[in-house]
C-alpha cells in the first residue's frame, strides 16, 4: 500500500501539479487558496521551475497563455472573484486551443462576497465563464486525495484535448487536512507540434491565435472544437455512486456537499429510507446518462449545493424532468448540516407517500 502523508487540500494540489510535470505557476494572492502560491513559491526555485507572482489575475492568466503557447505544463490558481478576472484569458485560451490547469477554490459571492466555502461558481465554470462558445473540463474533488489525483489527471486531460481543465474546489477542500497518497503514475506525452518554440528555420511558423475574421472559417473552428468536446463527453465523464442499487431517492452532490450528504444518507438508511447518491466528479462533462438511468428507478432527486441552486438545472435536464427534483442548499459561505440534508431526504420521502 502506498505511503500516505497528511496534507492540506491546497498543498496537495500544488504537490500533485509538480508531480504532473508542471514547472510554471503564475498567480495573484486571494483567500482561500493562497497556500497553493506559497507552496509553489517555495518549491519551484528548488526544482528549476518558475513561480511568478503576477500584478493581477488578468496578467497571471495571460502569463499562463504565454507559457501554454510554448507547450509547457502551466497552472494558475485563484478564488471566485479572481476567476472572474481570468474570464477573458480563459476565453482566449479556448479560442486558441491551449491546454492549462486552473484552480478555483471557491468562496461565497457575488462581488467581493466572503471568504467561506461556496459552490456558487457552478454556472460560471460549467458554462465557460468568459465570452463565446466553449467549455472547460471541470473536476470537482471531494477529498484531499482527489485534490491531488484530479490535479494530476487535469493536466493530462487538458493536453489530450487541448483545452483548459479546472479544479472546482471550495474553501473547505482547500483548507482541510487528510492523509493522501502521492503515487500518481506515469505522465502521458501528448503532441505539441503546434507550440511556438521557434521555427529553428526548419518549419513554417506556428501561430497561436483566436482571431478569425472570416465567419465561415470561425464557424468551422467552432464546429471542430465542439467535435472535440463531444469526445470529452463520450470518454471522460466521472462520477461515484453511493448506495444506489436499491435507492428510491437520489441525492446529487459534489465536493463538500457530497461529504455532508454521505453522513445524512447513512443516518437515513439507519432509519429505513432507501436513499443513495450520485456524486459528479466531472461537472462538465456532466454525468447525464447516469442520472437519466437513475431516473428510471429513483422516484425523487435532491440537489444538495452550496449555492442558490445551480447544478439543480443540470439534474432536471439530465432526468428530463421525469421526477421531482428538490433543492437542499445553503449559500454565502454556509454549509448545509447533515441534519438539514436528512430533513430534505425525509421531505422527499414524504412526497412519495
Amino acid at each position: 500500500m502506498a505511503e500516505k502523508v497528511l496534507m492540506k487540500g491546497n498543498e496537495a494540489i500544488a504537490e500533485a501539479a509538480i508531480m504532473a510535470g508542471c514547472r510554471h505557476y503564475f498567480g495573484y494572492p486571494i483567500t482561500p487558496q493562497t497556500e497553493i502560491a506559497a507552496y509553489m513559491a517555495k518549491r519551484m526555485p528548488k526544482i528549476g521551475g518558475c513561480f511568478l507572482q503576477a500584478e493581477s489575475e488578468i496578467a497571471a492568466i495571460n502569463m499562463v497563455y504565454g507559457a501554454a503557447s510554448a507547450g509547457v505544463r502551466v497552472m494558475t490558481s485563484s478564488s471566485s472573484p479572481g476567476i472572474s478576472l481570468k474570464g477573458e484569458g480563459l476565453s482566449y485560451m479556448a479560442g486558441s486551443d491551449l491546454p492549462a490547469l486552473v484552480i478555483n477554490v471557491q468562496r461565497g459571492g457575488p462581488g467581493l462576497g466572503g471568504i467561506q466555502p461556496s459552490q456558487s461558481d457552478y454556472f460560471q465554470s460549467t458554462r465557460g465563464g468568459g465570452h463565446g462558445d466553449y467549455h472547460m473540463i471541470i473536476l470537482a474533488p471531494a477529498s484531499v486525495q482527489e485534490m491531488a489525483s484530479l490535479t494530476f489527471k487535469g493536466f493530462d486531460l487538458a493536453e489530450k484535448y487541448r483545452m483548459t481543465a479546472m479544479i472546482l474546489a471550495d474553501g473547505t477542500m482547500g483548507q482541510m487536512m487528510e492523509p493522501v497518497s502521492l503515487e500518481m503514475g506515469e505522465i502521458n506525452e501528448h503532441d505539441k507540434s503546434w507550440a511556438v518554440t521557434g521555427t529553428k528555420m526548419a518549419r513554417k511558423h506556428n501561430i497561436i491565435n483566436s482571431l478569425s475574421l472570416i465567419p465561415e472559417e470561425l464557424e468551422q473552428q467552432n464546429f471542430d472544437r465542439y467535435a472535440r468536446y463531444k469526445k470529452v463527453e463520450e470518454n471522460e465523464v466521472m462520477y461515484e455512486e453511493y448506495l444506489m442499487d436499491d435507492a428510491e431517492i437520489c441525492i446529487v452532490a459534489f465536493g463538500i456537499a457530497a461529504r455532508v450528504s454521505r453522513n445524512a444518507i447513512n443516518e437515513a438508511r439507519a432509519q429505513g429510507i432507501k436513499v443513495g447518491m450520485i456524486r459528479p466528479i466531472t461537472l462538465w462533462p456532466f454525468p447525464k446518462d447516469a442520472l437519466d438511468k437513475a431516473a428510471d428507478t429513483c422516484k425523487a432527486f435532491i440537489s444538495v449545493e452550496l449555492s442558490m441552486g445551480q447544478m439543480i438545472e443540470d439534474v432536471q435536464l439530465a432526468t428530463k424532468c421525469r421526477r421531482p427534483v428538490t433543492l437542499c442548499n445553503r449559500a454565502g459561505g454556509m454549509i448545509p448540516s447533515p441534519e438539514e440534508v436528512l430533513q430534505a431526504i425525509k421531505e422527499a420521502k414524504g412526497g412519495l407517500e
Binding site: 510554471h24 503564475f26 518558475c50 511568478l52 503576477a54 500584478e55 493581477s56 488578468i58 496578467a59 497571471a60 495571460n62 502569463m63 499562463v64 497563455y65 504565454g66 507559457a67 501554454a68 503557447s69 510554448a70 507547450g71 509547457v72 502551466v74 477573458e88 484569458g89 482566449y92 486558441s96 511556438v196 518554440t197 521557434g198 521555427t199 529553428k200 528555420m201 526548419a202 511558423h205 506556428n206 501561430i207 497561436i208 491565435n209 483566436s210 482571431l211
Partner: protein
C-alpha cells in the same frame, strides 16, 4: 549584379492590410531587418496586440502569438519564463500598451523582464476608426474628442518613456520616429539594440516609435509625416530615456 534592396527574410511574403501611407510597414520592416541581422528568426517568438497591427502574426516568419488587448507583456512573460533561450518581442500600439495594458507594461518593465517591446505611438485608435488614445495630443480632434482633446475633461496624454524611466527596473528606453530617412535609420539602430539587449540578457527594452495615421488624422501621407515633426515630436521628444548599461559604464 549586386542586389541593393530586398525584402527582409523575417518578413513574410504576403500583402499587408495597412492603409496607404501608414508607417506600420516601415516599422515591421525594421523589426524584420533586426531579426535578420542578428540571425534569430528561428528562435524568435513575436506577440501581436489588438489594434491595427493585430494581424502582425501573419507578417513575420518567426513563430507568433496573438494576445488579448493590452496583455502582450504578460503573454511575453509567460513565453520568456517558459523558454529563456528564445527571443520574445511584443509589437503594440498606444491604446494596447498605454491604456488597457498599462499595468502589464509597467510591471513587465519593473520586473526587468528580458523581452523586447516595440511600441507604436500614433496618438490615435486606428483599427476602430480614430478614437482618442491615451497618447492623443491636447486639442487633438478625434472621433471621441470631436472638439479637440480637452485636458480638463479627459486628462493629459501619457508619456510612456518618461514614465517608465522613473522605474529602477527597465534596461533600455528610447523614443524614435519614422517620418524621414534620418529618423528611420536611427529607429533601425534602436530596434536592433533592443533585441541585442535581450540576447545579452540585459532585460526589458522598449522602443517607442512615433508613427503616423494619415487615414484617421485626416491628412495626406506626406502631411501626416510633417505633422509628426510639427506636433508629435515637440510633445514627445526623441531620444534615449534610460540605458542602464551605458549609465553603469559611465559611473
Amino acid at each position: 549584379m549586386a542586389i541593393v534592396f530586398e525584402k527582409p527574410k523575417a518578413l513574410a511574403n504576403v500583402p499587408l492590410h495597412y492603409c496607404p501611407g501608414c508607417t506600420h510597414g516601415i516599422i515591421h520592416r525594421l523589426v524584420a531587418e533586426a531579426i535578420d541581422a542578428l540571425g534569430i528568426e528561428g528562435t524568435t517568438v513575436g506577440v501581436a496586440p489588438v489594434g491595427c497591427s493585430v494581424m502582425a502574426y501573419n507578417y513575420f516568419n518567426c513563430d507568433m502569438v496573438e494576445a488579448a488587448h493590452g496583455r502582450a507583456p504578460a503573454v511575453a512573460t509567460g513565453l520568456k519564463r517558459a523558454m529563456p533561450e528564445n527571443i520574445i518581442f511584443t509589437y503594440q500600439g498606444d491604446g494596447d500598451l498605454a491604456s488597457i495594458g498599462m499595468a502589464e507594461t509597467v510591471h513587465a518593465a519593473t520586473r526587468n523582464e528580458n523581452i523586447t517591446v516595440i511600441f507604436v505611438n500614433n496618438a490615435i485608435y486606428g483599427m476602430t476608426g480614430g478614437q482618442m488614445a491615451p497618447t492623443s495630443l491636447p486639442g487633438q480632434v478625434t472621433q471621441t474628442s470631436p472638439y479637440g482633446r480637452d485636458v480638463k475633461h479627459c486628462g493629459w496624454p501619457v508619456k510612456v518613456c518618461e514614465m517608465l524611466a522613473q522605474l529602477e527596473g527597465p534596461e533600455y528606453l528610447e523614443r524614435v520616429a519614422v517620418n524621414n530617412v534620418k529618423n528611420i535609420r536611427n529607429a533601425k539602430r534602436a530596434i536592433q539594440k533592443a533585441f541585442e539587449n535581450q540576447i545579452n540578457n540585459k532585460g526589458f527594452s522598449l522602443i517607442e516609435v512615433i508613427s503616423s495615421c494619415p487615414t484617421n488624422w485626416g491628412m495626406t501621407p506626406q502631411k501626416a509625416l510633417q505633422w509628426i515633426d510639427d506636433n508629435m515630436i515637440p510633445y514627445y521628444p526623441l531620444g534615449v530615456y534610460k540605458d542602464r548599461s551605458a549609465e553603469q559604464e559611465k559611473a
